[in-house]
């Protein structure tokens, strides 16, 4: 099933540039409902452009074509007890909203994971996808095939075009091949849980954050704080003992919790699909960890999910102004899933100039709409 379609992409991009056409980039389409897609004259289909090109466990590096599915990569890494540390979400199509027939091809590609820059529940401790990116082979809007970064951990030759792709949603070109730093899996993972309010959970996360504990995830949901511990057997066992004083007990029932949260299969996210249109939106708030909880939630136990020791808060709410005010006040940013991502105007301008430098003809129909802005400038 593995094949190199990059020559075809180059042709397609050059032709589109020559005819002032726009191409919509598609991997699996698993995140198609997250942002309003910019319309294109044609599709650039990356999912067939797949295959793991090189994997050397002792080098902690995996190189694969961008269309390779995350599930396939997980399987190959799992055989050698390794993983992509930042746990990029693998989204089941249709779990955000089941509106208008989704034609997703799978639960996410490597290219999609990097382009969207989303990280799993371990972000503060295990890093983001941008931290794992070592190099990319990029096809720009001129149809040029360019290699940046490489397969080594330390590399400061030239501007960091590779990590710049994280979060660009394809605005700077299509990634053909990506090299990632991978990580050994932990020998043991344990989940500890205790009932407590959200403010209490935030305070406890801050207290524990300055201690040397093998924490790799926190989640506050439905009135409970869950902590994920990971490390070798003796380290995790010692931490379990140390955390008992906070009422945190080993929770054997929630083994699947972290996978469900990562892939947004948890019941909290399912509610988005069940809610009627016009009802409360699902918001993704990125905030300083220690920021107080918003006071406008009528029932935080059912309407809020707090991850990243407080740094990421998912909420359901219908008053956009209240959400915006809250984020401004605590110094965070918000994104209503399914709507455009708000970008600071000054940064937007820089990004638009960069988009023009990589894609002068505006070939890529990125959902961030940077290329359109560049064209108008």
């Amino acid at each position: 099933m593995s094949a190199d379609y990059s020559a075809g992409f180059i042709e397609q991009i050059k032709a589109a540039a020559a005819h002032q056409q726009r191409l919509q980039i598609k991997g699996h389409g698993s995140k198609a409902e997250w942002l309003p897609l910019a319309s294109g004259d044609d599709l650039l289909e990356l999912s067939s452009h797949n295959g793991i090109l090189q994997y050397e466990p002792e080098e902690l590096v995996l190189t694969a074509r961008s269309g390779t599915s995350l599930a396939d990569i997980d399987a190959v890494l799992g055989e050698r007890q390794q993983m992509i540390a930042c746990e990029p979400p693998q989204l089941s199509p249709g779990n955000v909203s089941q509106a208008n027939g989704n034609d997703a091809l799978g639960s996410g590609t490597l290219g999609g994971a990097v382009a969207c820059g989303l990280s799993g529940p371990g972000r503060p401790w295990l890093g983001a996808i941008r931290d794992a990116v070592l190099g990319v082979e990029l096809i720009n809007g001129e149809g040029e095939y360019l290699k940046f970064g490489g397969k080594v951990m330390k590399n400061v030759a030239g501007y960091d075009v590779s990590r710049l792709q994280a979060g660009a949603w394809g605005a700077l070109g299509i990634m053909s091949v990506i090299s990632l730093r991978v990580q050994p899996c932990f020998a043991l993972e344990r989940t500890l849980s205790a009932e407590m309010s959200a403010p209490r959970a935030l305070a406890l996360c801050a207290t524990l954050g300055v201690r040397n504990l093998p924490i790799t995830g926190t989640a506050w949901i439905e009135g409970q704080l869950h902590l994920r511990l990971a490390g070798n057997d003796s380290g995790v066992a010692a931490a379990c003992v140390a955390l008992a004083e906070f009422g945190l007990q080993v929770n054997a029932d929630d083994e699947d919790l972290w996978r469900l949260l990562k892939n947004q299969n948890h019941g909290f996210f399912q509610k988005a699909a069940q809610r009627q249109s016009g009802a409360a939106k699902l918001w993704r708030l990125v905030t300083p960890s220690a920021a107080a909880m918003p006071n406008f939630l009528s029932d935080p136990n059912s309407d809020a999910l707090v991850l990243w020791a407080g740094g990421l808060r998912w909420i359901y709410h219908d008053d956009a102004q209240a959400v915006a005010d809250y984020c401004r006040q605590v110094g965070g940013w918000y994104w209503a899933i399914g709507e455009a991502m708000p970008i600071d105007p000054m940064q937007q301008q820089i990004m638009a100039h960069l988009a023009k430098a990589f894609d002068p003809h505006g070939v890529f129909a990125s959902p961030l709409n940077l290329n359109a802005a560049a064209g108008e400038a």
Partner: protein, 502 residues
């Protein structure tokens, strides 16, 4: 045509500038205290070079702003008059990134050295760019926190310079580089506008501009404030020294440790020449008969560490370590590290001069690349000592030479370039952590195609249309690469002896 001039600023800008210098100076003196605008030769002298002391140039003027607003005003003033700006941190960079421009302003950030905030709740520190790397850890220590990246110059180097170079250190495999530990930055752009990237947040919308600023060598903007992540200090540490009678054994042991799922906090390798020099200098207790030694640091909770220690020791034995020493207390650990950390000055005692290279290679390529370095060393007739950040593949071959022997500096630089070509051929890169600056402009031509270099230039022009921010650094012009294209140095003779060579 002179490549150095090509790599410098455009003729158009130069013409604009000569008539403008008087006006610029007047404005600089109007906005800054007299002592912060340096124009006399004695005052300028300390700024003529950075850590790459082989390259010197007297700047036209040095300014030392104290506030972000002053930085922005200096940038606007220079932009209006077409005067180049060379940002400078502590001047410890090893690749000439802060090399002055004789028509340009050196913008030194040393007076912006305040720690603005240590916030233990969010585990971050907000600091000005002139704050020394080590000072952040010292300020965070009362909260049991520290800042992880520790370049060897951490006593002196500044966080602004660390961001500009994406500085590394000995703990990168486990804790990452500067880019992985910086959460936010305020940046004065070439227009004089101020942009805030990131902050205290774990992600931000859009292409990762913060990552782009890291390692951009002062060519895209001037960092005026940095927010770094702080980590809890490890509960315990162990430092091991393992001696091997073959370099290959040591290399295999490194691979085996990582394959076993262990990520040591640090893992350093030194070859025989480096070991002998370091031991003579530091009396660290290194075995003088070893062909290679590994220094391995493990950290974590006490319970975790005991298990790790046993695992690592078993692997080292299985892979042929004939001697393993373990340092239990802080004094012994410091002693084992002292040898490694003083390797460069130790080599400096063996040889009048040395050139420190900074290639990175896939770890598995180490035996092959070391053999090639040995061959290159014999061909050029100059000795090499090798110090290797084994955990992350960053190799520092030190080329020993005597600058007083006519031609030997060029000879050593040509040899260094050959070594970097070998690193690229092995799948690596010409610079792991020191940056390109002016030193590695030529070797960049080996690593990147003309299309890739042009993309770098378009990126630069998109962010700095004035092209006045640190001009001539980081990315070689196509003309320069063209003239050097296919240049393979034979017997140390350069095809363009009249050109300035770094």
């Amino acid at each position: 045509m002179n490549t150095a001039a090509q790599q410098s600023i455009s003729a158009d800008n130069l013409a604009k500038q000569s008539s403008a210098h008087g006006a610029v100076l007047e404005r600089l003196r109007g906005m800054l205290p007299a002592a912060s605008v340096i124009t006399d030769a004695a005052g300028l002298r300390p700024y003529e070079t950075d850590g790459l002391t082989a390259i010197r140039e007297m700047p036209w003027v040095v300014v030392l702003p104290e506030t972000e607003a002053q930085v922005a005003e200096i940038v606007r003033c220079c932009a209006e008059h077409g005067v180049p700006i060379i940002p400078r941190g502590a001047g410890t960079g090893l690749s000439g990134g802060a090399r002055p421009h004789q028509q340009g302003v050196v913008l030194g950030l040393s007076k912006m050295s305040a720690i603005l905030e240590i916030d233990p709740e969010n585990r971050i520190a907000k600091v000005q760019p002139g704050v020394r790397n080590l000072a952040i850890t010292q300020a965070a220590q009362t909260h049991g926190l520290y800042y992880a990246p520790d370049p060897s110059s951490q006593i002196a180097c500044s966080i602004g310079g660390n961001v500009a170079e994406n500085a590394g250190g000995v703990h990168c495999l486990k804790y990452g580089l500067t880019v992985n530990n910086v959460l936010g930055a305020r940046v004065v752009m070439a227009s004089g506008e101020i942009v805030e990237l990131g902050g205290v947040l774990y992600d931000n919308p859009g292409p990762d501009l913060l990552a782009l600023i890291c390692g951009s060598e002062g060519m895209l903007g001037i960092v005026t404030q940095v927010t770094v992540a702080l980590l809890p200090e490890p509960e315990t540490k162990a430092v091991l020294l393992a001696a091997f009678s073959e370099v290959v054994q040591a290399g295999n042991a490194v691979a085996a440790i990582i394959s076993a799922g262990i990520i040591p906090a640090g893992m350093e390798m030194m070859d025989k020449m480096a070991v002998q020099a370091a031991e003579a200098f530091a009396k660290a207790g290194y075995p003088l008969d070893a062909e290679a030694i590994l220094i391995i640091e493990l950290d974590g909770a006490a319970a975790e560490l005991a298990t790790l220690n046993t695992q690592v020791t078993d692997i080292l034995r299985a892979y042929g370590a004939y001697q393993i020493d373990e340092a239990h207390d802080a004094t012994q650990q410091a002693r084992l590290w002292k040898g490694r950390k003083s390797a460069f000055p130790a080599i400096g005692r063996l040889s009048p001069d040395y050139l420190c290279m900074d290639g990175t290679i896939p770890r598995k390529a180490l035996p092959k690349v070391l053999t090639e370095i040995d061959t290159i060393s014999q061909t050029f007739g100059l000795a090499v000592a090798n110090v290797f950040h084994a955990a992350d593949g960053n190799l520092h071959p030190l080329v020993l030479f005597d600058a007083n022997v006519p031609g030997q500096t060029d000879h050593a630089m040509a040899m260094g370039a050959k070594i970097l070509e070998a690193c690229v051929a092995a799948g690596g890169t010409v610079t792991g952590e020191h940056g390109v600056g002016v030193e590695k402009l030529d070797t960049m031509c080996v690593q990147f195609s003309s299309e890739e270099l042009q993309q770098f230039f378009r990126l630069k022009a998109a962010v700095d249309p004035t092209e006045l921010l640190n001009p001539g650094k980081g990315i070689p012009t196509l003309t320069r690469c063209g003239e050097l294209g296919g240049m393979h140095v034979h017997k140390g003779r350069l095809p363009f002896p009249e050109l300035e060579r770094f």
